[in-house]
């Protein structure tokens, strides 16, 4: 522990404030009492799929394509998840088997 307890608490509060500002800002800027504009309603529909796309890429950001295993475990596991999901349409099966497959690839195949 490099900081003093008080300094640590202040740091925790500073980080919490930064995080909470991002969460509360939209709700403060557009309170319920104001009728939502056409633009906001459209954003409410279009942002979720766009942000899911962003999150998928975000999770894969640290993959190194130029060195072993070239992102292959991730690629193969995601292919399995897509196939399973098209076939069974069961969220837990897709996620569970996809994750187990990835763990096997990472620990036993691409060592």
């Amino acid at each position: 522990m490099i900081l003093t307890p008080i300094q640590t608490l202040i740091m925790i509060i500073a980080i919490a404030l930064g995080s909470m500002l991002t969460r509360f800002l939209p709700f403060v800027l557009f309170p319920e009492t104001k009728a939502p504009s056409q633009k906001l309603i459209f954003l409410g529909q279009a942002l979720p799929p766009a942000m899911m796309g962003l999150l998928v890429v975000y999770c894969l950001k640290d993959i190194k394509l130029v060195s072993t295993p070239y992102g292959l475990p991730e690629l193969l596991a995601i292919i399995l998840i897509v196939v399973l999901h098209k076939w069974k349409e069961n969220v837990l099966i897709s996620i569970g088997l996809g994750t187990i497959f990835y763990i096997i690839l990472l620990n036993f195949v691409f060592i």
């Binding site: 991002t22 800002l25 939209p26 954003l43 962003l54 998928v56 969220v91 996620i95 994750t99």
Partner: protein, 233 residues
């Protein structure tokens, strides 16, 4: 209608209904939370500090970044700004949720306080079963995910190396969750264009800027494209 207190039976029934939706988050958050608690421990910050951080800031990746900030000179302003930037994607979650979280009354601030990647993904992508009120579905999803993260942190901080489940790759469960919820979004024809937009814009900025600085430019580009698109509609 008066917001009457639900009976214990109703609460149990609703939690039982919501729980399966949160199992992937349970797995991911316990593992990552424990890792976080343990890492803080090794830097000299015991379970009190790591758990307090998880309870107040509740922002997975930024908390890991913050470990570095806690082991250098004291600079709360820098910490605040960095936290705002790393967490900027929450702004879009809020924008997308303005309508859904309308009229939530007393629990609204809690829903906003706990709006993380995983909770946003589940609430915005899943079809809510008819047997549960949307309000209860939002509340229990948010609450359970929040508790998973705090419990994981507490366990990691208290038990330290004794229990750490060291299965390499288990944290992929959260990537898998996002992939599946992305597929859910893409089932709707009218969503497909925006799903591809999110993937392509983010990939392009990742290639150009590298893995440290690509999120905010990606968000701004997505927002610009959507605003222009809306005008053209």
């Amino acid at each position: 209608m008066i917001d009457e207190r639900p009976s214990i039976d109703t609460i149990k029934k609703e939690i039982r209904l919501v729980f399966p939706y949160t199992i992937p988050v349970l797995t991911g958050f316990l593992i990552l939370g424990m890792t976080y608690g343990l890492l803080m421990q090794t830097k000299g910050y015991n379970a009190f500090y790591s758990t307090l951080m998880s309870m107040l800031a509740f922002c997975g990746s930024m908390q890991f970044v913050a470990i570095a900030l806690l082991t250098t000179i004291f600079d709360p302003l820098q910490a605040f700004l960095l936290s705002f930037m790393v967490n900027a994607r929450h702004i879009f979650y809020g924008l997308a949720m303005l309508n859904k979280y309308k009229g939530m009354g007393k629990i609204k601030n809690f829903l906003i306080f706990t709006l993380c990647d995983e909770t946003f993904s589940i609430i915005s992508s899943m079809d809510i079963p008819a047997s549960i009120k949307p309000k209860s579905f939002y509340f229990y999803t948010s609450l359970l995910n929040y508790l998973y993260w705090i419990s994981g942190t507490l366990m990691g901080g208290l038990l330290g190396k004794m229990i750490v489940v060291d299965i390499r790759g288990l944290d992929f469960v959260l990537t898998a969750l996002f992939v599946v919820l992305f597929l859910h979004q893409m089932k709707r024809k009218e969503n497909q264009l925006y799903g591809y937009l999110g993937i392509i814009v983010t990939l392009v900025w990742l290639v150009i800027l590298g893995p440290k600085n690509f999120i905010i430019p990606s968000m701004i580009t997505i927002l610009l494209v959507l605003v222009i698109k809306e005008r053209a509609l």
